[in-house]
């Protein structure tokens, strides 16, 4: 059998840092490393050894070398990792040495490509590796990990099995009408198709929610000056980023922070308080606040419960009308001048559409909080989850976040919708299998069970070097 080429690349960023790791994979990983680190020849698999990388007589660096022998390694080939000092110069010298000794500089993603080609991971898992490297939030990481451990593939394969079972049933009945009858089958199939559509729809929803969870919810905090917007932000962010004083109008610019609330990322824009103002700088801030609020996914409207509602609140009321919003009744620790009922009435009276007929936009949730006492925030985070994450989706669920997967899933869903149409039109059974097979093939593209031409090269070209 052909020797599997040995490739080398830095596995950590090529920059000044404490440690740099250089990774090799291939049939000659050990002998190539052995030319400058002789100890490797008597190393056992999955052990690490201390020593020096030698260029002839010259010691290049003091290193730790670990060895993972085939097949129990990332690529299923012999993998060597050299932990050296994180100096660009040193890492480059070691890399050059390895190339001189017979290794080849790896292409982007080639380590993962090897893992895929050697059958250790499937396509969805390979893509997950890329997503993990790029993941920005904990949620994104967790979904990628789910994908990597094959959970997405499992769910997709189950759907495929269900589809192919029905196809097989129809086909066997077409071939052997004497022993397999299709009488009454349309009802059974209708039930199955509805179930498959429901499950696909849930996955598609997770892909929409997955986007929100992966990229975060654009949130704008609005409210009159000095109602405690910045304190709230500080509480969420955990440091005194926004300046908090008792003087109205302290926050003159727009502050943006990414905060994780209950696993969901909020990209929060804190705004200057909204009030009629003559101060020009502040005025710009207010205008900006209004503008941001219009583009936000979520508006958090903070009200000081110890202060009466006024003209400025009416302005804000217009702003949040018909939008996804949460009203925080802040300073609940102080004397209450405004309570939930007051706000409820206040919001409804400003709503031109009142009384509501259209329930497509939920009424804003009203939550009593105290930044000082740190109360009401559990309810706040639960409300956000309820507002943005669809019913029936749990935090532990599989989320389809990869774009290619989403597209394939939508196509599969559309094909199943066509099956549904055929059922409604009472088409003869042999027509159903056409679209069922399309759905089956689209789903297979997610797991790699269906081979799309050039798909593989396309996927791996997106990787970064060293993985």
């Amino acid at each position: 059998m052909m020797k599997r080429e040995t490739i080398v690349a830095p596995a950590t960023a090529l920059s000044e840092s404490g440690i740099g790791i250089i990774r090799l994979s291939g049939d000659d990983a050990v002998p190539i490393t052995g030319k400058c680190f002789s100890k490797i020849k008597d190393m056992k698999t999955h052990t690490i050894r201390y020593g020096f990388i030698m260029d002839g007589e010259e010691a290049i660096d003091e290193v730790m070398v670990s060895l993972m022998k085939s097949p129990n390694s990332y690529t299923r080939e012999d993998v060597v990792e050299i932990n050296c000092h994180g100096s660009i110069m040193i890492m480059n010298r070691i890399m050059n040495l390895m190339i001189k000794n017979g290794a080849r500089l790896a292409e982007p993603g080639e380590f993962t490509k090897k893992a895929f080609l050697n059958g250790r991971i499937d396509l969805a898992e390979a893509e997950a590796v890329m997503d993990i490297i790029r993941s920005k939030s904990e949620f994104a990481l967790r979904t990628s990990l789910n994908q990597l451990t094959g959970k997405v593939s499992d769910v997709i394969r189950l759907l495929r099995e269900d589809i192919i079972y029905q196809v097989a049933y129809i086909e066997s009945a077409l071939d052997d009408p004497e022993h397999r009858s299709l009488e009454g089958y349309q009802d059974i199939l209708q039930e199955k198709v509805t179930d498959i559509l429901r499950r696909m729809n849930l996955l598609i929803k997770t892909s929409e929610n997955g986007k929100i969870l992966k990229e975060g919810i654009y949130t704008v905090i609005v409210g009159k000056p000095n109602v405690g917007k910045s304190s709230l932000l500080n509480l969420l962010v955990g440091d005194d980023r926004a300046i908090v004083t008792d003087i109205a109008g302290t926050t003159r610019d727009i502050l943006e922070e990414s905060v994780k609330v209950n696993g969901v990322m909020l990209n929060i824009i804190d705004t200057a308080g909204i009030r009629a103002t003559e101060d020009t700088i502040e005025k710009i801030g207010v205008e900006k606040a209004m503008k941001y609020a219009l583009q936000a996914d979520l508006i958090v409207y903070v009200i000081d419960s110890s202060v009466e509602l006024d003209e400025n609140d009416r302005k804000i009321r217009e702003l949040i009308n018909g939008r996804k919003a949460i009203v925080l009744l802040n300073k609940a620790d102080l004397d209450t001048k405004v309570d939930e009922d007051d706000i409820q009435m206040f919001l409804e009276s400003g709503d031109k559409n009142y009384p509501h007929v259209d329930n497509s936009v939920d009424r804003p949730a009203i939550i009593r909080t105290s930044a000082k006492e740190n109360s009401g925030f559990d309810q706040f985070s639960q409300t956000i989850w309820d507002m943005f994450i669809d019913d029936g989706i749990n935090r532990e669920d599989i989320f389809i976040t990869n774009l290619r997967h989403q597209e394939a899933l939508r196509n599969a869903y559309d094909s199943m919708l066509l099956v549904n149409q055929s059922l409604e039109a009472k088409m003869p059974e042999d027509f159903y299998t056409i679209d069922m097979m399309s759905a089956y093939e689209y789903l297979g593209m997610i797991t790699g069970d269906q081979i799309g031409e050039d798909l593989i090269n396309e996927i791996f070209s997106k990787f970064c070097t060293g993985k």
Partner: protein, 634 residues
């Protein structure tokens, strides 16, 4: 003594007839060998041609310029279009044949074919020479030898020896070493094939008893009539020429008593007693198999079908068996209407040598032997129609090979023939292969009604379709296209007459102007019904309006299926280099590597259909081939 011809066809069954005729019609001097001239185009099993998916094959053979369709049109005694309650993709034509007439008529065609010689002789050995261009791995056909010691020089041989190689028939404990119907078995050819390095297998098939019509009580059975309006098989046969009086079949059922008799005597069945070594087909099972496999079924259908006009023999369809004669009598006599039946010929099972078809290319040529082709039951298929389909392809390709012209391959998206051959040469078939609708992925495109539109062009290029026939095909295509366009562009307003007409036919009223094509899409509408609304309708033949109706009514489905074909063709077009060394491809799993070495697939598409080759293996191959095609810069 030495005689010189271009092509030798061994066997004159359904494969051999098509192969021989194709070669002769393509200008090859052809000789066809048979162990008995009286058994040309013999139907040793069921007395019908066509049926689910097999009817498609007959139409396709006809579209290419074959003889089977024409021959059954001349000799049928009953005809029926099956599955008409289902979609057009699964409509299938089946005709009962007068067996003797079928055989005799085909023999006449062969006897009168220019360039074709019929010879009664047993072929005992093939003669090959080493190919000077690749002496180690390739051989080349130069001739053959008969049992009387005569040598024939030829450039190509087509093996169509059916179930005759080392055949033996089993009826209970009684074993006779003959081919079907007591005909002489071929005892030497197997050894000759083995000596050429060809791998053989042993398969089994069976046939039910023939009973005397006078001993049956039809009043206890249901009469099965043919269609009122008979559709011919051949695209060249005029519909008016086949309208004739038909002979009925009769339907009855097995019962608990039948099943009891079979179960009690299973130990005397050579199949269950382990005497039969060959593997039988799951899809054409013996009654023993059915009783064992469908144990919960209380009864199975039994059709009594006449074997011809001038015989009292009737074929007991659905009850093939290899049980001993006494059990057969008891078993058949337990069926309502058959209480007093007399068996004329016993049911029996037959075992025979056949080749492992993975040794063939899609042209049906052996990969290692230039000039050697193989078709029909010898390739591990079952059925007359499957045999004929392979026969014509092997014949065409043998002739093209001698003419040094580009070979003809039909793929899975073009015809059932393509599916049949691709399955045979690609998929591991451990039992006789029977054509089935489910085997074709692109069924809706591969209808029996459009076989001519699909592949007649190929037959024309091969030289089996005349210029006149081709002109007619072109005209037909044009008429269909222009009629579809006309229906799409002819709009109807919501006039009183139109609305009234729609109400009359339980169809919803028009809200805005609508095209005739749109109206035709309504499930309750047909081209015929719409007639009164269609003032400008040209006078078109049924086969044209049928295409128009199907193309319009199922347009969405047809379009989607065409997209699937495009997807399929992408991998089919990714050719695997002939000289690929699978040992050089890293990371293919061992099982896949072994299979790929045996099958040597021509494309990634074919490779992906080999069992034991996983999508991951294909991905590896894809990457390997792409990298091979790139300059080595890495």
């Amino acid at each position: 003594m030495i005689e010189k011809v271009d092509v030798c066809v061994i066997g004159a069954g359904h494969a051999g007839c098509e192969a021989g005729l194709a070669c002769a019609r393509m200008g090859m001097k052809t000789i066809i060998f048979t162990v008995n001239v009286d058994s040309i185009a013999l139907m040793p099993c069921n007395p019908n041609i066509g049926g689910t998916s097999k009817g498609h094959l007959v139409r396709e053979v006809d579209a290419l310029g074959g003889e089977m369709g024409k021959n059954i049109d001349k000799t049928f005694i009953q005809s029926k279009m099956l599955n008409i309650s289902k979609g057009p993709a699964v409509h299938s034509l089946r005709a009962q044949a007068d067996k003797a007439d079928y055989s005799r008529t085909m023999r006449t065609v062969l006897e009168n074919q220019d360039n074709l010689i019929i010879k009664q002789a047993e072929v005992v050995a093939l003669i090959v020479e080493d190919n000077p261009e690749a002496p180690e791995s390739y051989k080349k056909i130069v001739g053959l030898k008969t049992h009387t010691g005569i040598t024939y020089e030829c450039k190509a041989i087509i093996l169509c020896s059916g179930t005759y190689l080392n055949a033996r028939c089993l009826c209970g404990e009684t074993i006779t070493y003959t081919g079907p119907n007591g005909l002489k078995a071929a005892e030497h050819l197997s050894d000759s094939l083995k000596s050429l390095g060809i791998r053989l297998r042993r398969f089994k098939t069976g046939t039910p008893a023939r009973v005397d019509k006078r001993s049956l009580n039809f009043s206890k059975m249901t009469e099965q009539f043919g269609d009122e309006k008979i559709v011919p098989f051949s695209f060249s046969t005029k519909a008016e020429d086949v309208q004739k009086e038909q002979i009925s079949c009769f339907l009855t059922y097995t019962n608990a008593k039948t099943h009891e008799i079979i179960k009690k005597n299973l130990d005397r069945s050579p199949l269950y007693a382990g005497i039969i070594e060959g593997v039988g087909t799951r899809y054409c099972p013996s009654i023993e198999d059915k009783v064992v496999k469908f144990a919960d079924k209380e009864r199975h259908q039994v059709f009594l079908e006449p074997e011809g006009c001038y015989t009292n023999e009737m074929y007991v369809s659905g009850m093939s068996s290899s049980l001993p004669e006494d059990v057969q009598i008891a078993m058949y006599q337990s069926v309502p209407g058959m209480e007093a039946c007399r068996i004329v010929r016993n049911a029996y099972a037959i075992e025979y040598d056949c080749i492992d078809p993975s040794q063939l290319y899609h042209t049906l040529r052996f990969k290692n032997i230039e000039g050697l082709y193989s078709a029909g039951q010898l390739n591990g298929s079952s059925g007359y129609e499957e045999a004929a389909a392979q026969g014509i392809i092997a014949g065409i390709n043998a002739a093209l090979y001698i003419k040094e012209e580009e070979e003809m391959i039909i793929d899975r998206s073009e015809a059932y023939i393509g599916v049949l051959i691709d399955d045979l040469v690609t998929k591991e078939t451990s039992e006789p292969y029977r054509m089935m609708t489910s085997r074709a992925e692109y069924r809706l495109l591969l209808r029996q009604d459009n076989a001519d539109l699909r592949i007649r062009e190929k037959g024309y290029r091969a030289g089996l379709i005349s210029d006149y026939q081709h002109d007619q095909l072109v005209m037909k295509r044009l008429s269909i296209e222009s009629e579809i366009a006309r229906l799409k562009h002819t709009k109807l307003g919501a006039s009183g007459y139109v609305q009234e007409f729609l109400t009359e036919h339980n169809s919803s009223l028009l809200k805005t102007a609508s095209s005739l094509a749109e109206l035709l899409c309504r499930p309750e509408m047909t081209y015929f019904i719409l007639g009164p609304l269609d003032q400008e309708r040209p006078s078109l033949s049924d086969d044209i309006t049928q295409q128009v109706e199907i193309e319009i009514k199922y347009e969405g489905y047809i379009e989607r299926q065409k997209r699937q074909v495009k997807q399929f063709q992408k991998l089919e077009k990714r050719m695997i280099p002939v000289d690929i060394d699978y040992d050089d491809v890293p990371s293919i799993r061992i099982e896949a590597r072994q299979k790929l070495k045996v099958y040597r697939p021509v494309s990634l598409g074919q490779a992906s259909r080999i069992s034991g080759v996983s999508p991951a293996d294909i991905s590896v191959l894809l990457v390997y081939i792409s990298q091979k095609n790139l300059p080595q810069n890495m």
